[in-house]
């Protein structure tokens, strides 16, 4: 009886796994075929694997540039957000001042403002500052946009660090700034990882802001380049499939390496606390 149930459980788990993975299998298989073969033989293995598709797709899609842009943008956004959110979380978690809770509430509730709502006036604001079609402009937008949840995560974690640590350092003559940089922040490493992963994932994947703010191909991030790619090679479907693989590869690798941190990081805000 137990065995039958086990088989059932496996069946369920495997079926779902197939559903979630088959498109990837399919993308890999399709990317090696000639575009026409994708339609004549959609499910089978390629008759003659064409690795050239990858090379062509990479060059034609301008992925080198797109990756550079995405990489630089994501890293700078992550760094900025980690610093800013932890800076704000520090007094919010350790000092008592009037309006502290209101401020925290104020900052975090911003999460409920849909990004597309912010985008409309923000676009015109950036336009008047001449920051449309600039990576710096979109960087500013990303930082402003992505503060609420990181602040929540950092503050939650920092609250659990005992105040005695601060107090003894203070007695030893350390300034609040020093305490923050050299003591509290290093102790908050798990939260920092969580914030980094959260912000990194969101920034890397963003499409809406990239579509609106970035206009010239040399400024495109990977999501934006993919759309352009579709326009140009819309019917070179093998290239589209290859483009898909390019798009997911970095995150896949990143995930496989940092798996544990990923899961912990993304759920940090969800676990009560």
């Amino acid at each position: 009886m137990v065995k039958a149930r086990l088989v059932l459980v496996y069946l369920v788990l495997i079926s779902f796994a197939i559903v979630f993975i088959f498109p990837v299998y399919w993308a890999i298989v399709s990317s090696l075929k000639e575009s026409g073969e994708i339609f004549t033989n959609p499910w089978g293995l390629p008759s003659k694997p064409l690795l050239d598709n990858y090379v062509d797709a990479w060059i034609l899609g301008g992925f080198s540039r797109a990756y550079l842009n995405s990489g630089v943008l994501t890293i700078s956004t992550v760094v900025a957000i980690v610093i800013l959110s932890s800076m704000v979380a520090y007094p919010l978690s350790r000092f008592n001042f009037r309006g502290r809770d209101k401020l925290f509430y104020f900052l975090v509730s911003g999460y409920m403002i849909p990004p597309v709502v912010v985008l409309i006036p923000l676009y015109f604001m950036l336009k008047s500052m001449n920051l449309i079609d600039s990576l710096f402009g979109i960087f500013l937008a990303y930082v402003g946009l992505n503060l609420p949840i990181p602040i929540f995560i950092m503050r939650s974690y920092m609250s659990s660090i005992p105040r005695e640590i601060d107090e003894s350092a203070y007695i030893d003559g350390a300034s609040p700034w020093y305490i923050f940089w050299k003591i509290i922040l290093p102790l908050s490493r798990p939260a920092v990882a969580a914030v980094a992963i959260w912000t990194g994932l969101i920034t890397w994947q963003d499409f809406l802001y990239a579509l609106t703010i970035l206009l010239s191909p040399e400024n495109f991030t990977v999501p934006r380049a993919l759309l352009n790619f579709y326009g140009v090679y819309g019917n070179m479907w093998a290239y589209i499939a290859a483009g898909f693989i390019f798009a997911i590869l970095p995150m896949e690798i990143f995930y496989l390496v940092f798996q544990r941190h990923f899961v912990r990081g993304l759920t940090a805000g969800a676990i009560k606390g």
């Binding site: 979630f20 800013l84 609040p176």
Partner: protein, 293 residues
């Protein structure tokens, strides 16, 4: 630490708070308020703004595409809350409750995978999968002797075709959240329940779920608010919104008002409406956050 004087506040606390606060105000909050402000004007983004009072808001009530889009968002909410969360919960539960299962890491990776893909990439890939003439799905159908389906073009089903992909992508996220929620339940509780003879199903229903209440509430809130704001897949997979805007959502429709028809004021009225609804839905969670702090 105890309360300090106001000079302490200014010298010490303010510098920590100001940078983040500045970014937040400048690049998130003020634009949002601006949207509310602009909603009372008629503006094409280039010329002067013309005050029109409540006209944009009134136009919303008679705009059938707006209501259709809203309905589509509600469909998305139902699918998210009704499928993503339960399936995520189930899968997490199965992985947790059967210690003898091999390949846990594999399953975890498989389920979480789509969450890491760039939505733009997913949209294009699924466009290909849904391709009406010779695409893999319709190819399978014709192999089985069934007629081809116009997944993305048929107005009666195209919104569901997109919703399916959204669900496909996001279930892994709720799976992970459930995993995390479950892992914080002390094992003694579970073990004692099993010793007491509880069936696996009973365990889930009467013990695990109640203990995960706040986690589940968070999931529901995220799912609902996320569904209201959703843009990416609908924009890429069904350009033009589909015949009769059958696959339009609030975010895409509001986006088009500004960037295609230059009706910025009207766009902002829709944006303001969307914000209000999102806040109402997320209110409960925000209150939890306020209480916890």
């Amino acid at each position: 630490m105890k309360s300090k004087s106001s000079s302490f506040f200014i010298q010490v606390i303010l510098p920590f708070i100001t940078p983040a606060l500045a970014f937040y105000l400048l690049f998130r909050l003020i634009p949002a308020f601006n949207a509310f402000y602009i909603s009372f004007f008629s503006w094409d983004g280039i010329g002067p703004m013309k005050f029109v009072g409540l006209r944009n808001w009134l136009e919303l009530t008679v705009d059938e595409v707006f209501w259709k889009a809203f309905r589509n968002n509600i469909f998305l909410i139902i699918a998210s809350v009704g499928i993503e969360i339960p399936v995520g919960l189930l899968l997490a539960y199965l992985l947790m409750i059967e210690p003898s299962i091999k390949g846990k890491t594999f399953f975890r990776t498989a389920y979480f995978n789509p969450m890491m893909f760039i939505p733009a990439a997913i949209a294009l890939l699924w466009k290909l999968i849904y391709f009406p003439v010779g695409g893999p799905l319709n190819n399978l159908l014709s192999y089985l002797g069934l007629p081809a389906i116009d997944w993305l073009g048929d107005p009666s089903i195209n919104v569901w075709s997109v919703i399916f992909v959204v669900v496909w992508q996001w279930t892994g996220w709720y799976f992970v959240l459930s995993l995390a929620g479950m892992s914080s339940i002390p094992t003694e509780v579970i073990e004692s329940a099993i010793i007491d003879g509880a069936s696996k199903f009973r365990l889930l229903r009467s013990i695990i779920i109640p203990l995960m209440k706040s986690n589940l509430f968070l999931q529901i809130t995220l799912a609902a608010t996320g569904s209201l704001m959703y843009f990416d897949l609908f924009w890429i997979m069904v350009e033009g919104g589909g015949p009769g805007h059958s696959a339009e959502v609030l975010a895409t429709w509001l986006y088009k008002q500004t960037f295609m028809w230059s009706k910025v004021g009207y766009s902002c009225a829709m944006a303001a409406f969307l914000t209000i609804v999102t806040f109402l839905v997320g209110f409960y969670w925000i209150r939890q956050v306020a209480k916890a702090s």
